[in-house]
């Protein structure tokens, strides 16, 4: 009985917290410019560099895919990692805590809502990018591609959940931290070039950010011939690594939430003073 009630609350919470993100997409239209046009501009710059140095046309595809996936990284940084901190500032966090619901459900709702909204953006970037630049793609295996994509998102948003409870504790510095992480990850994860170019050791370290492995695997599946000499690891390894990352990040997030919630409750940091 109690178990059933708990599950009901869990799933209703997920849907409830995802809702503002889904509906926000439709109500706040400015994202079309900021989240599709701006990344495309960045992509365009790289495309012209590659063309100028007469790189093969597949490189255009690398960049378009990277541009699309960068939307997820931004979403995780700004709408997952720093989210609990914002929620505290706006007074929502205390209402989440007081409610008889799971914090993981709140974060999962945020993640699913964010994934939905970001996928619309990413598809926008891919559609416009492939149209304009005529990217030569060959999908080798749809199931493998889907698996890589889903596992990348699970691991990435798991990392986001973990970061959100850390950021909650760091308070105002969270914003600076997110800013600090944004650009280096673009570089390290190989958003605009195959990550192997950075060398095996750097790529291994960068694999800590799930997008690194995800991008590499997706590029292998979409541009098999070109990636033959540029791949970091075989797709199978990358799939396995992504699964491990996903499980580890989610488990750590769950523990971290408990730990930091208790700590914040003791230190009086779950709420704003005087509210």
């Amino acid at each position: 009985m109690r178990r059933r009630t708990e599950w009901r609350i869990f799933w209703r919470t997920v849907v409830g917290r995802a809702y503002p993100r889904v509906i926000g997409l439709q109500r706040e239209r400015s994202w079309v410019f900021f989240d599709v046009a701006l990344p495309l501009l960045q992509v365009t710059a790289f495309v012209y560099i590659y063309r100028a140095i007469q790189a093969p046309p597949e490189f255009t595809g690398f960049v378009v895919l990277g541009g699309a996936m960068s939307a997820y990284w931004l979403n995780v940084l700004w709408s997952m990692a720093s989210q609990l901190y914002w929620e505290k500032e706006t007074g929502n966090l205390q209402l989440y805590i007081v409610a008889p619901t799971s914090r993981m459900a709140i974060l999962l709702g945020m993640a699913l809502g964010g994934i939905f909204a970001t996928t619309v953006r990413a598809l926008g970037v891919i559609a416009v990018g492939t149209l304009i630049f005529r990217v030569p793609m060959t999908v080798t295996s749809v199931p493998a591609l889907l698996a890589v994509f889903v596992l990348t998102l699970v691991a990435l948003y798991g990392l986001g959940m973990l970061m959100s409870s850390l950021f909650l504790l760091w308070g105002r510095e969270a914003w600076h931290l997110a800013n600090l992480l944004q650009e280096p990850v673009f570089l390290l994860s190989g958003f605009y070039f195959p990550v192997k170019a950075l060398g095996f050791a750097v790529a291994l370290v960068a694999s800590f950010i799930p997008i690194t492995l995800g991008l590499d695997a997706m590029r292998q599946l979409l541009f098999p011939q070109m990636m033959e000499g540029l791949k970091f690891l075989p797709v199978g390894y990358e799939l396995a690594a992504l699964s491990v990352l996903g499980i580890v990040f989610l488990a750590l997030a769950h523990q971290a939430l408990r730990f930091f919630e208790d700590l914040a409750r003791r230190e009086g940091r779950l709420t704003l003073r005087g509210q």
Binding site: G16, Q94, L95, P100, L270
Partner: protein, 337 residues
Amino acid sequence: MSWEELSIRTEGLTRVFRPKRREARGQRREIVALDRVNLAVERGELFGVLGPNGAGKTTLIKILATLLAPTSGRAWVAGVDVSENPWEVRRHINMVSGGESSGYGLLTVEENLWMFSQFYGMQSGEAKRRIKELLEVVGLADRARTKIYHLSTGMRQKMNFARGFLTDPEILFLDEPTLGLDVQTARTLRAYIRDWMDRHPDRTILLTTHYMYEADELCDRVAIIDRGKVLACDTPAALKRTLQREAIFRLRVAALADPKALFQGVTGVHRFTHAARDGCVELDVVLGDENAILAVLGGIQRAGGQLLSLEKREPTLEDVFVRLVGRGLGSGEGAGA
């Protein structure tokens, strides 16, 4: 009354805030926000916590609502220890604060309320029906489809108020629910609180306020709190009865230079407060015997004051507070009748 029938109980509840290192340079003083508070609130009570700003009201509610850990002492809500089992406590409670700014600006009033209802696992249909009802009650029905970033502060507060009742909690914490609202709205909300309690005799509300009128009109029992300490706890009538032997006069006096020095050497004046109002001074004078009013009038005359009006009045909770603390609540009648 056995312990199991108590909705809320605290035992030596204490919370100390240590200034953060960054802020501490000026003062390394600890703030004792709650100081060994013992309270027992029975099921079905509308219990008021009355005290000035900084008294510790919000700190008390945060601890009871599992948002803050006590430094020492214990608290039980619905029979469950808030420190040992906060998850269980949350099944029984809801909370609204007067100053809160919760919700998502892009969502409408009804969408925001619906979202919060989902965190309690409410069925959507049921939630929507209740939201409609509650928005009628708080006078926000015509704004149900308005995005909340278009709402005034007062309207947001009404929405939050509705959120508290939406989930039909067993124990509801209201932290200064009428703070800063206009008189009419405050009255509507108070009427609803009273009505809800009448319709649900097994529910409990703990309400904090610094409006003495609100505590007096609304609450079954009131704890008067200042600087983290509970100074008295009883029904409003019983609290006021403690002043029955005294006589209280309200005087309005013009052209009074120094009200503080007014009654030096005047016998029979137990205490008095003064406030500037509309260009004159309003004095509340508490006398041991009402005949002492003659000496008071003499004192005013000697100080060159000009008496505009004189009225004997019934004691209020403010008077009780002044007797206990030696100063006023500092709120005037902001939410007065």
